[in-house]
Symmetry: C2
Subunit: 343 residues, 2 copies
């Protein structure tokens, strides 16, 4: 692969226009994200721009002062922690953050792409598990760096991304319960179609296996990461004679649901039931009792993504970065040593 | 007052430069928020621009596609609800939202102002109880419309703002408790130096007075709107023989603190104690029991502010808007009818 040109002047753009068999103004329209170019022409020009390793000039006045952060859904409880992370790094670098809600869980909408091409940000932090090939091509051909922040844990291999150590999180949560003397431990993980759910559950299984404890499959469930997923699964598990003494809840919201199920069944937390959450959202400190939980470093993940964006915009990276930040256990009041067994 | 010019061309800027006794390039530097202009010169030019009713031309290519939202602190629990509101309106109008954390509770920092002047947004939504005279002058002289979203309830009279009905909120919360049969009711409102704390408390007093119920001043406290403020005040009130049977908590976070105080004293909610919160944050649905609370329409307040910004940028408003949106009571599980008095 040849070294990318640092800038492409008018001469170079003429060359690209010739090669694509279009006018210079068409190349310029494509670069500016204008919609009045036929899709097939746009793709051809993008392909050639990509071959030439087109890079924008840094420091154009009034440009490159924005960093974009795109969510599929601003309703998620951790949106704020991610915004804060990008904002921290932006502020330190004299940049401003554009926050957009766009698209579905998989990719931002084409409308958003058009807007980004017009705004020409330093780069884009995307909170998506994947990005459409079309979106990737559009961003790459304009040399707009992008990084995926991926709490779901399943990024495509050709995309720069920042995640966290889900398997280790599940392992730590379960080890903590085992160290407290629990052996009948349930796990309510996330949805079946998210890789992070499987990674956390596999961590749980490994902790049980290495401690030579059996996993009762009737005490393993896939939830939905929301309160009701925790409540419904916990109610079924707790409303039986051989109920578990501890539950690893897979998310803080599910842990809130488990707390509610326990209260409605008259089961004391932590005296009769220990609960570990996952995420360490702000609210984990505020529940009663406060939640022992696995800290997912959402703010730091967003900071790392924003820093990568800035380095990429300065042409500093050689390979596609894929970073997983460490998780850690935060012990609060929802877990306790197993009391002597009552008859 | 003369009609403002819709645009100011080069000729007009020359006139302003003459009047200020500076060069055209200095006027242009001031307009663009450059820092290399002496403060005294900047102020003079701003004053003259303001006299001339300077307005930017709408629809400059690549301009006017941003709307700014500034927080003193992204750590507040309601930041997300406000971002969502501005984003809703921005999206519907083809705009993007720049989110910034800047300054203290009273005004954004001078750095931020410089950035805004450079970015030239459609307008600015500010989450501050006030704005420095300097900041107001800078935004006004560049004809950048701004609206304050003010959950604290004490906007300056010369500034457009959107708030909510704090007094009615306090009244509704207390009436609900009275209707359930409670008469020994405590109130933990917010900090003494925020007008919304006083408005909510006055609503509480009016509800008590019109029901001919005495207010026990030892059951009235100013909290800090955080969990510990609720917990500490509630513990003192609940750990006495003549404890209240209901507490109006003034914020959802304080209500969480009251819940925790009750649990640690072995007092059942709602059987032995009713609790009403204030705000209706998302988490109010997730506590156990879920919170009866006063809904403060934060997302709608931000939407209204963003809509006002757009109308102001189109020159549609004649007077300074000051809007208070209605609050309403959401009844959930933390309140119940007073049980027959035990001896």
């Amino acid at each position: 692969m040849s070294e990318p040109d640092v800038t492409i002047g008018r001469a170079k753009l003429n060359e690209i226009a010739d090669q694509a068999g279009v006018s210079l103004s068409t190349v310029s329209k494509v670069l500016n994200g204008r919609s009045d170019v036929a899709a097939i022409t746009r793709k051809r020009v993008e392909g050639i721009l990509d071959e030439h390793g087109y890079q924008r000039r840094a420091g154009l006045p009034g440009r490159n002062t924005l960093i974009e952060l795109v969510f599929p859904d601003l309703d998620t409880v951790w949106a704020m922690e991610l915004i804060r992370g990008v904002e921290n790094v932006a502020k330190a670098n004299g940049l401003s953050v554009v926050v957009t809600e766009s698209g579905n869980r998989h990719s931002p909408s084409p409308d958003w792409i058009t807007g980004v091409l017009r705004r020409r940000p330093v780069g884009v932090v995307l909170v998506f598990s994947d990005l459409s090939e079309d979106a990737k091509a559009q961003l790459r051909s304009r040399a707009i760096p992008f990084v995926i922040v991926d709490p779901a844990g399943d990024p495509a291999p050709d995309v720069p991304s920042v995640g966290s150590a889900n398997w280790s999180g599940g392992l730590m949560a379960t080890r903590h319960l085992i160290e407290l003397g629990h052996s009948r431990i349930a796990a309510i993980t996330g949805p079946d179609d998210m890789m992070c759910s499987h990674a956390r559950l596999d961590g749980f299984r490994s902790a049980m296996n290495t401690a030579k404890l059996p996993v009762d499959e009737s005490l393993v469930a896939f939830g939905n990461f929301h309160v009701d997923g925790g409540r419904d699964n916990a109610r079924a598990m707790l409303d039986r004679d051989d109920r578990p003494t501890a539950i690893f809840a897979g998310s803080d919201l599910q842990a809130l649901g488990v707390l509610d199920a326990a209260r409605s069944l008259g089961i004391q937390v932590p005296a009769q039931l220990s609960i570990v959450g996952y995420d360490d959202l702000q609210l984990a400190q505020w529940t009663s009792p406060s939640l022992t939980t696995v800290h997912q470093p959402l703010t730091r993940m967003a900071e790392e993504a924003a820093r990568l964006i800035i380095r990429m915009s300065e042409g500093e990276l050689e390979s596609i970065p894929r970073v997983d930040l460490a998780t850690r256990l935060i012990v609060r009041e929802s877990t306790a040593a197993l009391a002597a067994r009552s008859a």
